[in-house]
């Protein structure tokens, strides 16, 4: 089975083969094959005119992508770490994202910015962030966040073919994950239910019975998340199933557009929603999702809340970083607590 990084490489190679307008630019993407080895071999295969090593100039990179896209190329840019996305922001946010609208539909901006995000690797406060928080509020941008090998290929191919500027966020802890390839292309902006709760029996667990759904409900709680949050949520769901709590897991796959509809449909079955974000709640997409579901489907909702990171920078030391992140255990704990199965005292003991 291919690794996540190999699926990304396959997607880029297939699209470069498919469309000669596709070029790849970034720091160390060509000769070195990328610091996370995503682009290995592409320089040899497609040549120096299409796979280009650049200076460490993130603003020039995003500018180059914007201008090249407007002038007929389909650039893929690699921004080495998601934290570095603070640097190329102007060309992305103030130029690329607005161009289609301002041009009244005359000129699209087909570019992809790939960036490695996420904590857990002891990279510290400024090499561990997920820039989705910064970008999900920018009209005109798409923000795509794959969680598995199949989506790494299918969503990246879709992003490269998309006529809009797309920021494609790759979680560093997923690069070595293995899995099967799936469909060649998956649509951007469509969430996927990756675990259906209560299949064959409905949510007979602790949360069942008294909620707005009444009899026949399909589970006790929906978890919506992206990237590494998805395997973490699936692992938490396994734990919770032993406690009799049936969990539905939704991989949002995209932060903008955000597929509120699929989440609301799930919540209509489970009546509870937990949004898990590897990032601070303030200004984050999880809080936005909770708000959108409350706004559009409050009648279906018994409970909704978020599990995010503290509002501090990401710590370096392993004990601190592990406790900081909303991993599988933290997700399971959060749901048990919400269901009254876990006291706060015990929760803090677990964290300690």
């Amino acid at each position: 089975m291919p690794e996540f990084r190999e699926a990304l490489r396959l997607a880029i190679a297939e699209e470069m083969q498919h469309d000669e307008r596709v070029i790849l630019i970034g720091e160390d993407v060509a000769a070195a094959g990328g610091v996370f080895k995503v682009t290995e071999g592409l320089h040899e295969r497609f040549g120096s005119a299409r796979v280009i090593d650049t200076p460490i100039s993130e603003l020039a990179l995003s500018s180059a992508a914007f201008g090249a896209a407007v002038a007929g190329c389909k650039p893929i840019v690699e921004i080495m770490f998601g934290d570095f996305m603070a640097l190329p922001m102007d060309a992305l946010v103030n130029q690329a994202a607005k161009y289609w609208y301002l041009s009244v539909g005359r000129n699209s901006v087909p570019l992809v910015v790939r960036t490695a995000a996420g904590a857990g690797g002891r990279f510290g406060a400024i090499h561990s962030q997920s820039p989705g928080t910064w970008l999900h509020g920018v009209p005109g941008l798409k923000v795509v966040c794959p969680s598995c090998v199949a989506d790494a290929r299918a969503l990246l191919k879709a992003a490269i073919r998309d006529p809009n500027p797309v920021v494609f966020i790759e979680h560093k802890r997923l690069y070595a994950a293995k899995g099967e390839l799936g469909e060649e292309l998956e649509p951007l902006g469509k969430a996927q239910v990756v675990r259906v709760a209560g299949e064959g029996g409905g949510g007979a667990g602790v949360g069942g019975g008294a909620g707005k759904g009444g009899a026949g409900r399909g589970g006790d709680v929906t978890i919506a998340t992206v990237m590494k949050g998805v395997p973490d949520a699936l692992a938490a769901a396994e734990q919770l199933a032993k406690d009799g709590i049936e969990v539905e897991v939704i991989d949002l796959r995209s932060l903008r557009p955000l597929d509120v509809e699929t989440v609301a449909e799930s919540v209509a079955r489970t009546h509870r929603l937990l949004a898990v974000e590897e990032g601070p709640r303030t200004g984050g997409w999880a809080a936005g999702l909770i708000g959108a579901v409350a706004s559009e489907a409050l009648g279906e909702v018994d409970d909704l809340w978020t599990l995010c990171t503290p509002d501090t920078p990401i710590p370096f030391s392993p004990t601190l970083e592990d406790a900081f992140l909303p991993g599988a255990d933290a997700i399971a704990q959060a749901i048990r607590m919400r269901f009254g199965l876990e006291s706060k005292t015990r929760m803090s003991e677990v964290e300690a």
Binding site: A60, S62, A69, P75, R106, K142, N164
Partner: protein, 334 residues
Amino acid sequence: MGTQPATSAVPLQTGVPGRLELLQAYAQMLLIRRFEEEVQRRFLKGEVHGTTHLCNGQEAIAVGVAAGMKDRDLLAATYRGHGHALARGLDPGGLATELMGRVGGTCAGRAGSMNVLAPEQGLIGCFGIVGGSIGAATGAALALRGSGRIAVACFGEGATNQAYFAECLNFAKVLSLPLLLVCENNGYGEFTAWEAVTAGADIQARVQALAVPAQRIDGNDVLAVHDATQRAATVVRGGGGPAFLEMLTYRQVGHSRSDPGNYRPSGELEQWLLRDPLRFARSAIEQQGLADARALARLQDSVEQDVRAAFERAAASPFPDPAELAAASEYCDA
């Protein structure tokens, strides 16, 4: 402070673009000047909205650069971009209508003065962030490698203190991109004299340190601008990598509509008005006998009519219907 008039102006005869071209260039500059004056007048009447950044005094650069480019070359300009847009051939009526926020504008009233873009005229856009035009043109140049076309970035001297300038100049040089950089040094970044905030006060030296060919010319002499642009464009087009032109000029008006320019030392404006680009071109036309006073008066009338017609068309265009907000998409769905 402020930029001193160039002492070694390239003589008007350089390049010998021919009689028709000088007259045409003058007509275009006159159109831009009158257009800007009408923008200001309409602004004061409340018909042009938001803010405006007029290019009075810098018309020779807009016209000379456009004339030195080929039709399929691409230009990125700044929020002080009305002149560049008109010089690239944008219909004055469409531009006037845009500035008045009407549905018939170049960007249907979505863009306004600072953000006009016109792909049909090879105008990538006018960029409201200082230095943004450098980035946009650098990217366009990346796409144009090997095509025989070039991208041109126009920007003020203030942009040379932005990351855009340092990063993109280096980027374009190491990748040998077909990029022509045109720095319009009008003496002031917003309200501040450029030397006060520019270490070394020598932009050419910065450029030359990166082994990019650089030249300083009189930006108020349309023939010099045209000639230098053509020569530099030829080098760039030939695969020589980026080239840089610093054009010395003067912003005869404030930074934006609310700026009376009180920070200028007394006499400076008057000194520069003596070197007004239109006055310069007109006296060359008269000296060379390219047109007599009657012909110039007819030209003036014709430009007046064009500007009047442009703004009358603008005023007759309706405002966009707010209902369009619901129909507009943030994305291209193609």
